[in-house]
């Protein structure tokens, strides 16, 4: 018995005992091929998936290394069948390769004739292929490069794309490293991405994904299209690029609902790209309007389906996906793999936090006991109204006030989902400004600026702030209601307070919930996600908070 830190389960999950002396070593050995699924305090769960194994193959690991890592660190005998399965799965990647043929252009080359015969006979794949050049080579229509990769992944024979990239229109971009430098993991991420050509970099919120993007652009030195989730995030990108690179304001265009600028570096929102008029996507020509050398996808886990379809046509351009998580709620991880590219870099949250790059967070759940009247109201309400009733209970208001008062020197964000409730909170907090969907972009920018400068201490925000706003000094976040049990929302909200504080202060994340209601149930679901990410949270009674002992 080796007594290693790893336990292999029959459902292909790997359990890593964190307190084991060898755990760091084992983590390093399995991280390239196993997806980290949960990382609670003591035992982390990794999962072996075909995609994960192929990601590892794409990164140059072979089955022998994987099997060796499993066997070396496993506490108990690893089932033989699992090892065989791992080897077989990994062996499937790269049997087919997409390469550029000097005469025939894009071709699919097979290192295993039987596999080629198999896929040629697939009904869905056959139309994408052209003439058979010889027994192992078949021509591919260049326009089908992406769709072919998608289809091949679906039938379990993922192709290795070695057909290279066009350089695109050159444009000088340099990092301005006057008073800062790339952190080691950021540099590593860029290197890995550049070596692979295309792919996804996975970094936690607050770990500086924008800088990875900027560094990649400096590497490409070409015109770049950046796709972001919304306008505010786009402005944030712009601000960051101007600050960190040699790019000037004039070189960066914004392509959004408001402006339609196309410049050497253009930042477009997902929303505008997917707007349809009379059933047609109006803004697709943006992709063809310039000879882009690099396309950056921010928050790739939110990439909408139409963008996938477009991306399928852009396979000859370098693509960089940035995200905090590869897990998509719609399960289209396979499309990210085949269209954007394999995972090129991944660092677990806790590791980066331990290195001091993101602020440690202290999570607290405050439980509010509803009044008898509220309880009766809740008990007799229609099921669909119940959550709102519980989440917006007025009993929460004094508690929110108390929390804000407990942190007199910190910037505080109060995040909620219901506008009426936000109004009430604003009133309770002596008229703290509210940012919601109807707030104009200009007004938002102004408020954010004031908040950033410390002129505003408290902001009350609706769901609009869920994504990609950058509030470096928000040290306290209070969430008072949410979108049911969305785990992604929880991650994003937590991300608001994870940016490093200039004085290394502790970040606080409060959730106010109504006891014994759906609110508490949903909160439990969201918190499970936090716990799985390794954040322990404490539960506090509202009464203890209001009347400290």
């Amino acid at each position: 018995m080796t007594d290693g830190p790893l336990i292999v389960q029959s459902d292909k999950t790997l359990l890593l005992e964190v307190d084991h002396p060898q755990s760091a070593e084992a983590r390093a050995a399995i991280a390239p091929f196993a997806e980290l699924e949960r990382s609670p305090e003591h035992v982390h769960t990794y999962r072996l998936t075909p995609l994960g194994l192929w990601n590892a193959r794409a990164a140059g690991h072979d089955a022998e290394q994987v099997v060796d890592a499993l066997v070396r660190y496993s506490r108990y005998a690893v089932p033989h069948a699992l090892l065989v399965d791992v080897a077989d799965t990994m062996d499937r990647y790269g049997r087919l390769q997409l390469v550029k043929h000097p005469v025939h252009g894009l071709v699919l080359v097979s290192l295993d004739r039987a596999v080629l015969e198999e896929v040629i006979r697939q009904k869905k794949i056959n139309p994408m292929l052209g003439a058979r050049l010889d027994q192992d080579t078949v021509q591919v229509h260049p326009s089908e490069r992406g769709r072919l990769k998608q289809a091949l992944l679906k039938v379990g024979w993922p192709a290795e794309d070695l057909a290279g990239y066009v350089n695109g229109e050159a444009h000088p971009i340099e990092l301005r490293l006057d008073d800062w430098e790339l952190r080691s993991y950021q540099r590593q991420a860029v290197e890995m991405f550049w070596a692979g050509g295309s792919g996804v970099v996975v970094l936690p919120c607050g770990a500086g994904k924008t800088l990875v993007g900027a560094a990649a652009m400096a590497e490409a030195k070409a015109t770049t299209l950046i796709l972001v989730t919304n306008t505010v995030a786009g402005r944030q990108w712009k601000r960051e690029l101007i600050a960190r690179t040699t790019l000037t304001e004039e070189e960066i265009g914004e392509y959004s609902g408001e402006k339609k600028e196309i410049r050497p570096v253009t930042i477009a929102t997902y929303q505008v790209m997917t707007t349809r008029r009379k059933g047609e996507y109006r803004h697709l020509e943006l992709f063809d309007s310039r000879d882009w050398g690099l396309i950056v996808y921010d928050e790739v886990h939110l990439l909408p389906a139409p963008i996938f379809r477009l991306t399928a046509d852009l396979q000859s351009r370098r693509r960089l996906g940035l995200t905090a998580t590869l897990i998509r709620e719609d399960g289209r991880e396979g499309d990210v793999f085949s269209l954007i590219g394999p995972k090129r870099y991944d660092a677990p949250w806790k590791d980066i936090e331990n290195q001091g790059w993101i602020a440690p967070a202290d999570c607290t759940e405050v439980r509010v006991q509803l009044t008898d009247a509220e309880r009766m109201n809740y008990a007799t309400a229609e099921p669909e109204d119940r959550y709102k009733l519980a989440a917006t209970a007025r009993t929460k208001l004094p508690v929110i006030r108390q929390i804000v008062e407990n942190h007199p020197n910190d910037q505080v964000l109060v995040i909620g989902a219901y506008l009426d409730q936000l109004d009430d909170v604003s009133a309770e907090l002596d008229g703290a400004p509210i940012i919601q969907g109807s707030t104009s972009n200009k007004e938002r920018e102004r408020l954010y600026d004031e908040f950033r400068r410390g002129e505003q201490r408290v902001l009350v925000v609706s769901k609009v702030a869920n994504f990609s706003i950058d509030l470096p000094e928000a040290a306290v976040a209070v969430q008072i209601s949410g979108t049911f049990g969305s785990r992604q929302e929880e991650a994003q909200r937590l991300g608001r307070v994870l940016r490093p504080k200039h004085d290394g202060r502790q970040a606080h994340f409060y959730t106010v919930v109504a006891r014994d209601t759906l609110d508490a149930e949903y909160a439990a679901h969201r918190q499970r996600f936090l716990a799985e990410q390794g954040y322990s949270y404490t539960i506090v009674d509202a009464d203890d908070l209001l009347r400290p002992l």
Partner: protein
């Protein structure tokens, strides 16, 4: 008392029994060891043994047990004319190892005689079938059955004068036996024809042809018909052609075909035996867990038994999904559980499959014991789970637990397969399964060659069940196969990871048991949490519903919290503590109970009076609300007693039972677990074989002597004549051996050789030669006595 074989022409045996007489005791013992059925019951003498050697079923068994090479040698011997000179055969095929193979065949009693004078036991030819060595019948036999009309063009083609049968067939056969002419004929075959010939030469020598008897005079003939015209193929009926033996032999490089004298080697990867065992325990624990999970799943949702038996495809799919398995493995687990008597179909109008009472007993055993019961059941079961899901007879889908997966021969095949794997060194695991199957086909071609897919499935199943690990036979399975189950359990327990008594509780409310949980811990956790993932470790998740389950089962919130904090190696997260507290606070606000009758009365005072009435105390009425009381007595008794006590109750709802009693968990009738039938012979030590041979020998001697000495027989049944008594007395006085014929209690006549020492009290006592113990025979049962001559003593 050995009778050594006299070598040399002088002692040459002329009959099988004569040859047997010349065998040494050791040789006879070996024969009986390898063909145990010959000694059941013990043959009276060597002639009886000789005749048993020719019994068809016994010969069949012996031939089936031969390896490919020995079988081929036997086939070649049968092809030659009787008697065979081994030297001739060796000269013909020139193979090494033939002498050893022939010796083996002789030892088995399939062939007898000396090397230059071998005889085949007659039934052997029948057992080998029509086409020994994959060669057709001789040309002379084959052509004899072909009608004249068809032979005429053949004769013409060969340039022979026209003739009628049997002259025609003889002359054609003559051509084929001439090597030069045959060579010429073969050389004239074009590639298409040659391909047909080669295929038939590799065996079997019979092929199907459309319209085999069509006229060969036509032009544009297909290759087989062209070959018929050249006499290289013979039509045997309307659709089949056969390759004459001479042609087959000429086509083969060696008459052996592709059969090696040595078994094919199995490439192995050597591991330490204990490492292999540990590898197996993962599968062992998984198997035990899966059987348990299947039983629990079926107890909750019993699958219905199909009318023909077995469970439906959909039920199997559901089970597989629930257990997170592939369907074939789910079928295997179900079949094994059934064979081990852990699940069974209920009787009734709508039979379903449920765990049996045996399952409850099985569950209490230790893991090793639980597994060995499953493994033994698998070894013995006459069903082949790999057939499930395939199409069987009449294109019917073979269902799990259904009648179509029944294969009577499969336990023998399983043994054979495992014996092959067991022949590898401990710790060695074959690199590929195909090599094992090749070896198997060589070792027992007649038993295994046709069953390759099944044998492959058996190997796969053995790996799933943990009998083998990575294809290599584990130490504990080796012990189990050798028949010592207790020892196997111990070895297995030693190889298994030590059960864990603690766990780690995580803030996301999962509980991780980092190893196999002890039975007690597993039971506690099964109650309070849901199993999320298993394998080396077990991951449980505490949810509201799982905690509620524990509370429902009567655990208090504080019990659960205490259990968790006691067992946990990590601090109990606050969230879990809150969850338990919240739930136990809410638990039980609504109450429910069992009662058979209720009594309600709007008048509270009247109800109070009834409750206070001693006359109805027997009803044990209990007040659950101001106006309602309940009793566990039946309604009619409540009414009777109340009426008797002078009240005037009315039955409100005559059939109003409130709640059905929560009975025991449903269980199907018990079922005997399957066990391999171990033949009595197999276990007998060699010492018994010696005893057997001794008995046959003495029987032989008796036969011999009784031929020489006239017997003095009983004249009147039950009355021993004075003459016989006289004989006996003389024999006692002179110390001479006698031969007694005695009627046994079952009326059977047995013969005994005896050196009598006394006769008194109606009993004659004495020693049997070679036996120290005293035997006694009642006089009235002696039916005949004969006294041996002087010479007889020393031969026995």
């Amino acid at each position: 008392m050995a009778a050594p074989t006299e070598t040399g022409a002088a002692a040459r045996a002329t009959s099988l029994s004569g040859w047997l007489r010349g065998r040494t005791d050791a040789e006879l013992a070996e024969l009986l060891r390898r063909r145990p059925e010959l000694a059941l019951p013990t043959p009276a003498d060597l002639s009886a043994l000789a005749s048993r050697l020719g019994v068809r079923s016994s010969v069949q068994r012996a031939v089936d047990g031969l390896n490919a090479f020995t079988l081929r040698v036997l086939e070649l011997l049968t092809l030659a004319d009787d008697p065979v000179r081994l030297a001739d055969v060796i000269q013909l095929v020139g193979g090494a190892g033939i002498t050893a193979a022939a010796a083996d065949l002789t030892a088995l009693g399939l062939v007898w005689g000396e090397a230059d004078d071998l005889h085949i036991v007659p039934a052997v030819r029948d057992a080998l079938g029509t086409y020994p060595a994959g060669l057709g019948r001789p040309a002379v036999v084959l052509f004899r059955h072909v009608p004249d009309v068809q032979l005429a063009p053949v004769l013409r083609a060969l340039g022979l004068p026209p003739a009628t049968q049997p002259r025609a067939s003889a002359s054609i056969a003559e051509v084929l036996t001439d090597p030069d002419r045959l060579e010429g004929l073969l050389a004239s075959a074009d590639p298409a024809e040659r391909a047909v010939l080669d295929r038939l030469a590799a065996g079997p020598p019979v092929g199907r042809v459309r319209d085999a008897q069509r006229s060969t005079a036509l032009t544009e003939l297909a290759p087989p018909h062209r070959l018929i015209a050249k006499a290289l193929l013979v039509p045997i009926d309307a659709q089949n052609v056969e390759l004459p033996r001479e042609v087959g032999v000429a086509l083969r490089a060696t008459p052996f075909g592709a059969v090696g004298a040595e078994p094919p080697t199995i490439e192995v990867r050597e591991r330490r035996p204990d490492e292999l065992d540990r590898g197996g325990t993962t599968a062992v624990l998984d198997t035990v867990r899966l059987v348990e999970a299947l039983a629990e799943s079926w107890a909750a949702h019993p699958p219905a038994q199909l009318r023909a038996g077995g469970i439906g495809v959909r039920e199997l799919r559901r089970t597989a999904k629930e257990l997170a398995l592939d369907e074939p493995i789910a079928a295997l687990i179900a079949e094994v559980a059934m064979a081990a008597g852990l699940i069974n179909a209920t009787h009734g109008i709508q039979p379903v499959y449920l765990p049996t009472a045996g399952y409850d007993i099985w569950r209490r055993h230790k893991s090793a014991r639980r597994w060995s019961e499953l493994a033994l059941a698998w070894l013995a079961m006459t069903r082949q789970p790999s057939l499930v899901g395939q199409r069987g007879e009449r294109d019917r889908l073979i269902t799990a637990l259904g009648p179509d997966a029944e294969r009577g021969t499969i336990p023998a095949l399983r043994r054979l397969v495992l014996t092959t794997v067991a022949a590898l060194a401990p710790g060695a695991a074959p690199v590929s399964r195909a090599a094992v199957l090749d070896r198997l086909s060589w070792q027992a071609p007649r038993r295994a060659a046709g069953q390759r897919p099944l044998a492959d499935a058996v190997l796969a199943e053995a790996d799933v069940l943990g009998i083998t690990a990575a294809g290599g036979l584990t130490g504990y399975s080796r012990t189990l196969l050798a028949g010592s189950r207790e020892v196997a359990d111990q070895v297995l327990t030693g190889a298994m990871p030590v059960p864990v008594e603690y766990f780690l509780v995580q803030p996301d409310l999962t509980i991780v048991v980092p190893g196999p949980p002890s039975a007690e811990l597993a039971a506690e956790l099964a109650l309070t949490a849901d199993l999320e993932s298993s394998g080396g470790a077990s991951v449980y998740r505490v949810t509201e519903s799982s905690l509620r389950r524990a509370l429902d089962a009567g655990r208090a919130g504080s019990d659960i919290a205490a259990m968790i904090s006691e067992r946990s190696r990590t601090p109990v997260p606050q969230a879990l503590q809150y969850l338990i507290d919240d739930l136990s606070r809410r638990h039980g606000a609504l109450r429910s109970g069992t009662a058979t009758a209720y009594l309600r009365c709007d008048d509270e005072a009247l109800l109070a009076r009834v409750l206070a009435d001693r006359g109805v105390a027997g009803l044990q009425l209990r007040r659950i609300a101001a106006t309602v009381a309940v009793s566990s007595a039946p309604v009619h008794r409540v009414l009777d007693l109340l009426r008797g006590a002078g009240y005037a109750p009315a039955a409100e709802s005559p059939d109003g039972e409130l709640i059905a009693l929560d009975g025991e968990a449903p269980r199907a009738p018990s079922r005997q677990p399957l066990r391999a039938v171990r033949s009595a012979r197999a276990a007998d030590p060699a010492i018994n074989l010696a005893e057997l041979v001794r008995r046959v020998r003495s029987g032989e001697a008796l036969t011999e002597m009784s031929r020489r000495a006239p017997a003095l027989a009983q004249q009147v049944p039950g009355v021993t004549s004075a003459a016989m008594m006289g004989e006996l007395r003389d024999a006692i006085r002179q110390g001479r051996q006698i031969l007694l014929e005695v009627a046994g209690t079952d009326g059977q006549q047995t013969r005994h050789q005896l050196l009598p020492i006394s006769m008194a009290g109606g009993v004659v006592r004495g020693h049997e030669p070679g036996d120290r113990s005293l035997r006694s025979f009642p006089l009235h049962r002696i039916t005949a006595v004969s006294v041996f001559g002087e010479g007889a003593d020393d031969t026995v």
